[in-house]
């Protein structure tokens, strides 16, 4: 988590208007999600991965590792979609016999599953482009301009900030527990984690009271207004985004029939 957040603040597209990056990620993700074509989805995956590594400047090793994060879900998900079982012999099922069941994959499900992998990873690559190139504060700023309710935006601002404060508190408490031999057995682990959690809750509530006091001393009266960084929209980049997405869309449409082999 530290890493994604770190790259968001230190990458080659940092100064680019967040709206452009968000639009690029969102439109591409939209094409990917709506695309009926496996080739189109793979094209999106390749384009976004290349953009993230070559243009945003994310080390490819880290990028690959990040791609493995949803692997557990993806594997479990596609296996569940792809694999069927039947108590009667079923000629449509390519597979093995297990404890009297026919277990295997049907043609149609294989197609569905492979398309699912391409679509998911394609959309994931869009998400990563956004999250690795755009600081959360600026994403929240765009949401605000998109008329997301003020309370939600304000809460997001505070939550984002205090995630890091509470993470640090958690780390300190955990370290203190471990240095006095905490977590040495399963039952001790539950006891100690419970203690950590309740301590963290207590500290969170105290922090919220303190925060109210400190903000009140700066004239807080129910509303949180803040500056957004000034970033210029660029027509050139806008056209580039439009061009890339147009090509991706064209690829998706042109290759639409291919997977019904």
């Amino acid at each position: 988590m530290i890493h994604i957040d770190q790259y968001a603040y230190a990458n080659r597209l940092r100064a680019v208007h967040p709206g452009e990056k968000l639009a690029f990620a969102a439109i591409t993700a939209g094409i990917c999600l709506a695309s009926p074509s496996l080739i189109g989805q793979l094209a999106i995956l390749m384009t976004m991965a290349a953009a993230t590594v070559a243009i945003v400047g994310i080390p490819w090793r880290f990028y690959l590792k990040l791609m493995l994060v949803p692997a557990a879900f993806l594997l479990a998900g596609i296996v569940t979609v792809a694999v069927s079982f039947s108590s009667q012999p079923d000629p449509g099922l390519h597979g093995i016999d297990l404890w009297g069941f026919a277990v295997g994959i049907r043609d149609r499900d294989f197609v569905v599953a492979s398309s699912l992998v391409a679509r998911s990873l394609g959309t994931v690559s869009c998400l990563y482009f956004l999250s690795l190139s755009t600081p959360m504060v600026e994403i929240i700023g765009v949401l605000k301009r998109c008329r997301v309710p003020a309370v939600l935006v304000e809460l997001m601002t505070i939550i984002y900030r205090f995630i890091f404060v509470l993470m640090e508190t958690t780390r300190q408490i955990h370290t203190a527990q471990v240095s006095r031999l905490g977590y040495h057995s399963l039952s001790a682990s539950y006891r100690d984690l419970g203690q950590l959690t309740s301590c963290l809750f207590h500290r969170s509530m105290l922090k919220s009271q303190m925060l109210f006091v400190t903000l009140s001393s700066r004239c807080y009266s129910g509303e949180i207004r803040v500056l957004e960084p000034r970033r210029r929209l660029s027509l050139r980049r806008g056209l580039l985004i439009g061009g890339i997405d147009a090509v991706l869309l064209a690829v998706a449409l042109a290759t639409r029939g291919w997977q019904r082999w």
């Binding site: 809460l155 509470l166 539950y190 129910g222």
Partner: protein, 249 residues
């Protein structure tokens, strides 16, 4: 049918055990749902979100300090969901924070905090996704809290010991989240022969193996936490209007 179910459980148990370790609370990953489903779930979730926001707006107007309290509560739930649950198998799993969050901060607030937490998880942790935010919010921030709170209130009313109420709320709130997720996936990917139900059973089976121990773990943790809170943080709990009675774990 029951033989079939048994077979499914066996097979998917095997798959689940072989699948790689890091089991975060099971949110549907980015891009996994087809567009119509993603949009549908976003629409279904919207009224709950609006209701939650409205209730928050009203309370914040009366008491501006609640904004800071909710902010810290949200950060707390996020950090809670990033903790590692102690596990026997050595695999790494995380609580959802649904049960504890709901009992402490109420279901209405949880729907709002939940969507923010899920949003941050997607962007900062690459866990879950933005196109599936609607579906995940529905399961984790609407159904989960609703079930948790219902069970908590219900069992308190029926005179169950608080520990039991808290355990049921946390563990079953957790499970309800997964069952909902399974249903969402089964709706999106019905089996060719057995349709929604076969697929639902398949998804549930695979999640049951990974998530039931996790739900029990989260239930236990929540009881331990609640026990400590009800002894030493009475003040805070009173401010959040929670009945203060000692829990026996």
């Amino acid at each position: 049918m029951s033989r079939k179910l048994l077979g499914a459980l066996g097979w998917f148990g095997l798959v689940a055990l072989l699948s790689p370790g890091q089991a975060y609370a099971m949110h549907i990953m980015e891009g996994f749902l087809p567009a119509p489903h993603a949009i549908l779930w976003a629409i279904v979730t919207l009224p709950f979100l609006v209701a939650g926001l409205r209730s928050i707006q009203n309370t914040v107007k009366e008491a501006p300090h609640l904004k800071m309290l909710l902010g810290l509560a949200g950060a707390f739930v996020f950090v809670l969901s990033a903790l590692k649950l102690p596990s026997v198998t050595g695999s790494c799993s995380h609580p959802t924070g649904v049960g504890l969050g709901t009992i402490l901060f109420r279901p209405a607030a949880m729907s709002v905090l939940g969507i923010i937490v899920l949003f941050f998880q997607a962007v900062l942790l690459a866990h879950g996704g933005l196109t599936t935010l609607g579906a995940n919010t529905f399961s984790m921030a609407v159904v989960g809290p609703f079930v948790s709170y219902g069970l908590y209130k219900g069992s308190c009313r029926l005179g169950a010991p608080l520990a039991v109420a808290v355990f049921l709320a946390a563990a079953l709130g957790d499970l309800a989240t997964y069952v909902t997720t399974s249903a969402q996936l089964a709706l999106a990917f019905p089996a060719q022969t057995g349709g929604f139900w076969e697929s639902f059973v398949k998804f549930n089976a695979i999640f049951a193996v990974t998530q039931v121990p996790l739900a029990i773990g989260e239930g236990l943790l929540t009881v331990v936490v609640f026990n400590l809170l009800s002894v030493y943080s009475r003040g805070e709990l009173r401010d959040l209007s929670i009945p203060v009675r000692e829990v026996r774990a």
